[in-house]
Symmetry: D2
Subunit: 355 residues, 4 copies
Amino acid sequence: MFNSFGNILRVTTYGESHGTAIGGVIDGFPAGVKIDLEAVQEELNRRKPGQSKIVTQRKEPDTVEFNSGIFEGVSTGTSIGFIIKNTNQKSKDYNHNTNVYRPSHADYTYDKKYGIRDYRGGGRSSARETANWVVAGALAKQLINSIDINAFTSSVGDIFMEKPYQDLDFSKTESNIVRCPDEDSAEKMITRIQEIRKAGDTIGGTITCVAKNVPVGLGEPIFNKLHAQLGSAMLSINAVKGFEFGSGFCGAKMKGSEHNDIFNADGSTKSNLSGGIQGGISNGMDIYFRVAFKPVATIMSNQQTINSEYELTEIIGKGRHDPCVVPRAVPIVEAMTALVLADFFLLNKTRNINI
Amino acid sequence: MFNSFGNILRVTTYGESHGTAIGGVIDGFPAGVKIDLEAVQEELNRRKPGQSKIVTQRKEPDTVEFNSGIFEGVSTGTSIGFIIKNTNQKSKDYNHNTNVYRPSHADYTYDKKYGIRDYRGGGRSSARETANWVVAGALAKQLINSIDINAFTSSVGDIFMEKPYQDLDFSKTESNIVRCPDEDSAEKMITRIQEIRKAGDTIGGTITCVAKNVPVGLGEPIFNKLHAQLGSAMLSINAVKGFEFGSGFCGAKMKGSEHNDIFNADGSTKSNLSGGIQGGISNGMDIYFRVAFKPVATIMSNQQTINSEYELTEIIGKGRHDPCVVPRAVPIVEAMTALVLADFFLLNKTRNINI
Amino acid sequence: MFNSFGNILRVTTYGESHGTAIGGVIDGFPAGVKIDLEAVQEELNRRKPGQSKIVTQRKEPDTVEFNSGIFEGVSTGTSIGFIIKNTNQKSKDYNHNTNVYRPSHADYTYDKKYGIRDYRGGGRSSARETANWVVAGALAKQLINSIDINAFTSSVGDIFMEKPYQDLDFSKTESNIVRCPDEDSAEKMITRIQEIRKAGDTIGGTITCVAKNVPVGLGEPIFNKLHAQLGSAMLSINAVKGFEFGSGFCGAKMKGSEHNDIFNADGSTKSNLSGGIQGGISNGMDIYFRVAFKPVATIMSNQQTINSEYELTEIIGKGRHDPCVVPRAVPIVEAMTALVLADFFLLNKTRNINI
Amino acid sequence: MFNSFGNILRVTTYGESHGTAIGGVIDGFPAGVKIDLEAVQEELNRRKPGQSKIVTQRKEPDTVEFNSGIFEGVSTGTSIGFIIKNTNQKSKDYNHNTNVYRPSHADYTYDKKYGIRDYRGGGRSSARETANWVVAGALAKQLINSIDINAFTSSVGDIFMEKPYQDLDFSKTESNIVRCPDEDSAEKMITRIQEIRKAGDTIGGTITCVAKNVPVGLGEPIFNKLHAQLGSAMLSINAVKGFEFGSGFCGAKMKGSEHNDIFNADGSTKSNLSGGIQGGISNGMDIYFRVAFKPVATIMSNQQTINSEYELTEIIGKGRHDPCVVPRAVPIVEAMTALVLADFFLLNKTRNINI
């Protein structure tokens, strides 16, 4: 319940950043899907630390092993177990912080909730968990491979990529290390992150995600609205502070006469302020949404804080951390999107007896 | 699954706007809670149509009846059934639209998904459904009555109430019909909605919600993060296009050195950009978030559209509709917030064997 | 969670025997099923009190009203709300027992669990609840109408109908009031129940259920095994003490060489000790199982007991109760069987990408 | 959903008998429980193959490794990942059966449901899966360590241990290899199994389970009745064909005047035909139930069968299999009982606001 996501297609995960391994179980994945294991590993590689100069310099290979549910290259319909061994567990790095609460981390809340906490590297609250999601999402992508999911960095700090997504060539997203398909913006973003890193600071940003070729009819109209489940998925990602789809917060300033998406004769709409979702259900237009990430809380400056005895103390800024999570979060956003869409794709097979 | 919300405390609903009744079942509500039925009805009255000149002029009494689960004024721990009879079902009003797809409504998507649709007044996609949620939320409020939940209108179109919430007196929210506790802003908002109504148009807006006295430890750290579940709840409300908590989208522009919430010696924090939630778990600070509502899709102008035969046709602007949903959505936002917090309050009783 | 049954097709119920109404919500029922409302009422009539001389003489019409989810005679895919009003609530009948714990009833356990209890007529623990299930099951039957579900009384006390089910004509089940398709046995059973009733006592019995034309592939192989879910469904029915399918407890005495079901060339099996289920999944053969019901705990003799103050007291035998629940439980067994099969029928649409 | 068991405390599993590993995730296990890992391994050892002359002679060490959720010997409240590596994967043993359907196994149903099947050693349908359950159950036992759960072999074929469980010394269950605490019966059972083994045949049996010191109030009264969930748990175990609790099928032959459990002044009951559960809720008396296991389908004789091309063929009796599953199923029954009770123990913390 607490470590599971999805209705029919459900991933359940475990793992602390400095335990022996992380991993999970993918349940409800249907039989008969040809599985490309290399494509899964490639998604993991997009997320892994140490891949460029603007992300954390920790080196973790993040190799996934599958233990079940795939036989002779095809999904069998049984649950898919997978494991990613932790190979870079220098937990002594963290011994100095065993009872210190890092500001804007989850140390304090875990301790209050559970009375105990694996303090090594963030434990369960580490974003390392998202490697599990990328694995599950990579399989989900293969299940719904006619849907085209593209996330990209749309802002870093106050540098915004202003072009409408329709003008972008998504094949360029991977051509630069910040994962922004507009090269001019990408360059500025990279420069900004390098400045921030040099200053020992961190910075926030946003990711935009576009899903094309989504069939009409995905999503449930009341409590599993497609956008509500996408929102829940995105807000599950570490550091996320906001989610908007279609017109989003801008839509709240608009008038109905401006905002309505007028139909074309074929059922498509002239505008798409709805963001491809009406009444919680996909309408066949592009689904697009935007996700806000706060700056990473671990910075290289010393900060005043408290420990578990409520004593004031100082936390020393050191270690290897991302100056900006956004570039590495791009594949995570795609993975969670794929999980949501694949789940609704399966669910939709049960909703109309005549189909 | 599709019409249920919550983990332990779970509400399951039914009802179309022009059927005989709407209603639902509240499951997992614990025994021993003294129930104030009048307080429930009062919450419903805050949501009901016809309550002021800036909302829809439909008259619906929206009287809730409870059928089970409450005995001699106390919850019994068994499921609570309730029903709100529909008394204003002039479905012939809608006969002209039986197969016409209203722009930016859910008509088209329902038809494509289900192959059939109760076309009277929006059917299941009508915001009438949210009356059910207000009932459930009103009970949830009574379960967690030490938590103080206050939502209010923070913008209408481009009129923003700019004061920080800490400067507001929430007791004034109900003193004006737009439900903005700042009287100057309220007046401007009301004027704006009246202009919009006169123009036969509609307008969007935002609601901010603040929860005070939330115990530390609510929320689950991975897939039931407190803010992810709040986001899912808010995005379930009709017309919602975005959700942000704490620093939200602004946080994405900030640096870590600015954004971190430094601890005081008592475990509280000097700033609260985290919005009362760290690692998905409440930290005892105020929880606050903002919800964006698009303008109502039903406008008084004629619009070009199509019907189920993919023929171009025109939809005539008439009927009684809200020029702006935000004032009536304030109690809905509170209700959904209460449901989420009460659910996590119960869930938290199971998470630490020593408590 | 507590008052819900099913995975995809899920019924959630409420209601106490002497509240204003019982009812529920059926979620996940697919769109496009033609609904015969009279057939639903007929199933309820099979369960209702007062229908013959061998069941309780209470008169309750048990009329179901549907509030949503069915439009112009067809299911719409939205949740189906229904209500059965309580019309025979002579709660003063029960006033003498407000704090007395009836032996082998749920009074004591409810009080200890919840600290409060609707003591009128059993409250939520009354078998009246099963009327809700019959409604849901009657709709499920219409969803999977090619499957033929037949339950019947197979024993009353020590009177056993010994014929193999293959020799029975199920069309005769409704031809006698005890619902045993073998007329000789039926007569003996009826006589036995009449004797028991005269003696102011009650008696147990068993129901056998046979489902024919079940498609191959229903059921999930690990924790939603078809027989595990059928067992859970049957054990949910009031007074049930045991469940066995296929060879059941007899199978535990057998050898593998006797028990194995050898295949015919078409995939059917020569014997069917498996009861139509292998590895938790239907194999296309008849599914059959047997359910044990204890004697009703309310008897017409006075019994020593205690009250909520732990004082010894006497409970007076009076009121109108069933001398044997089995005849009225036949439609309940069928209803729960239909719910399980319909749920797995829907679920199975998601399990193989090539189907 | 399909590979998960439990409400709050939920285990999700994966693994095929001849894959690289089996394992799972235990979710909802509360923080603060001291974990004895050796005790977990000891439970696994009770289940493992090769432990005596009357079980399969396959040698599998079945060593469990925990990857998360336990820190410094205490549960942290985060999900507990575990893995049991398969070390005895002689899958070539099975190559001759790749497309042959073994009688009364799950080969045929898997193939029809999924269109693909890991044919090596039963794949997912192998009872090897239950090793996962024993791990989860062993942790559950530690969570509810004041409850005393004792299962034992109560019959093998037609040899029944006739003593009431109250006359047994459960400390003797492990003193013989068939796990029957009555030594005379145990000896006869062992002899019987040896005869059966020599004959190349298999035999069924029953297990009785008794849970003492169960707190009053566990179980939910409608669809999560304590006995319904126990039944579902037991019916999930491979080869189980029936479940009865308390008076069980015998109760169906009794009269109410005989069957009612009369209260003592302290709330206990003079008899306990209810089996410790009334209205789905534990009443503090011993919970006891009986589980029927069919004979293992793999026998040493050749059997006629079909293959996936619907051709008649012969299956050759060979390999290493249990002549009777019952002795090794005893710890599995206990494990599933512990999971159910622990789940309801946690759930019960949410059901009464005053506790």
